[in-house]
């Protein structure tokens, strides 16, 4: 089941600054909301998002409960070489998701 939407340009010129957009399905339950019977639902959030480019970390974000559900994160990086971008989200209750994208840099 598709859980994340990644948007990376397929091709770029060496040295270009490219935009990366990521969207992942996750409730980001903050731990303060009561359910319909009045019981507070426990916290269940993604707390870390890391992007690596051919194995080297290029972006890291610590997320807190104030990040909206289905977290959207957009950032940029310099297109240095062709290869693989890896996106990893980790969070409460052992949550872990990994997505990859390839880029051709000429």
């Amino acid at each position: 089941m598709a859980r994340a939407l990644i948007n990376v340009p397929a091709k770029a010129k060496r040295g270009d600054v490219i935009e990366i957009k990521t969207l992942i399905s996750h409730p980001m339950e903050p731990g303060y909301r009561p359910d319909s019977s009045g019981v507070v639902m426990p916290r269940d959030i993604i707390n870390l998002f890391v992007c690596s480019y051919n194995g080297e970390e290029i972006f890291r974000a610590d997320l807190f409960a104030a990040v909206a559900a289905n977290p959207f994160i957009a950032f940029s990086t310099v297109a240095t070489e062709s290869g693989k971008l890896e996106f990893k989200w980790t969070g409460d209750n052992g949550f872990s998701a990994v997505e990859t994208a390839t880029i051709t840099v000429e």
Binding site: V40, E56, A61, A65, A66, V67, A74
Partner: protein, 159 residues
């Protein structure tokens, strides 16, 4: 469902615009979670900035002044910086004043970013101030802040 439960839920939805803060439940099972205060936000900022001065400038915090729904608020931060090996933005930290917790997101970048510009979507429980702080490679801290008004969905729902 009793009328009391309806009223309680309505009250809850009214008082916490973002449906997050859980403030002011007027029922028997009332829970009042800690709400961030400006002092808590200052403390959280101090943890990151330490004793350094927080300078105004270089940072641009983009938030609509009037928010339709506090559950999903688009936020963008950009920082003027050459992002070279000698002079770059190390991190961008976002804080808020009135959610239960003061931290929103902390982003760590470097020269490989090309430009210091991020966007995301956050939750805001109430009309409040939001502050974005950029941590530079030379150890200085720069900031921008915005005051946003958070409105609520018209037909309060509960289902």
């Amino acid at each position: 469902m009793s009328n009391a439960l309806h009223a309680t839920r309505r009250r809850f939805l009214v008082d916490s615009a973002g449906l997050i803060a859980g403030i002011g439940l007027v029922s028997v099972a009332a829970i009042e979670p800690a709400r961030a205060t400006p002092a808590m936000m200052d403390a959280a900022i101090k943890k990151v900035v330490g004793g350094a001065a927080l300078r105004k400038g270089k940072v641009k915090l983009d938030l609509a002044p009037l928010i339709e729904n506090g559950n999903t608020v688009p936020l963008a931060v950009s920082v003027e910086s050459p992002m070279s090996a000698e002079d770059y933005v190390k991190a961008i930290h976002v804080f808020n004043e009135k959610n239960p917790q003061p931290n929103v997101v902390s982003v760590h970048i470097g020269p490989r970013a090309g430009k210091a510009s991020i966007s995301t979507r956050i939750r805001l429980a109430d009309t409040q101030r939001v502050i974005a702080i950029a941590e530079m490679s030379d150890g200085t801290f720069w900031s921008d802040e915005a005051e946003v008004v958070v409105t609520l969905a018209a037909c309060l729902e509960g289902i």
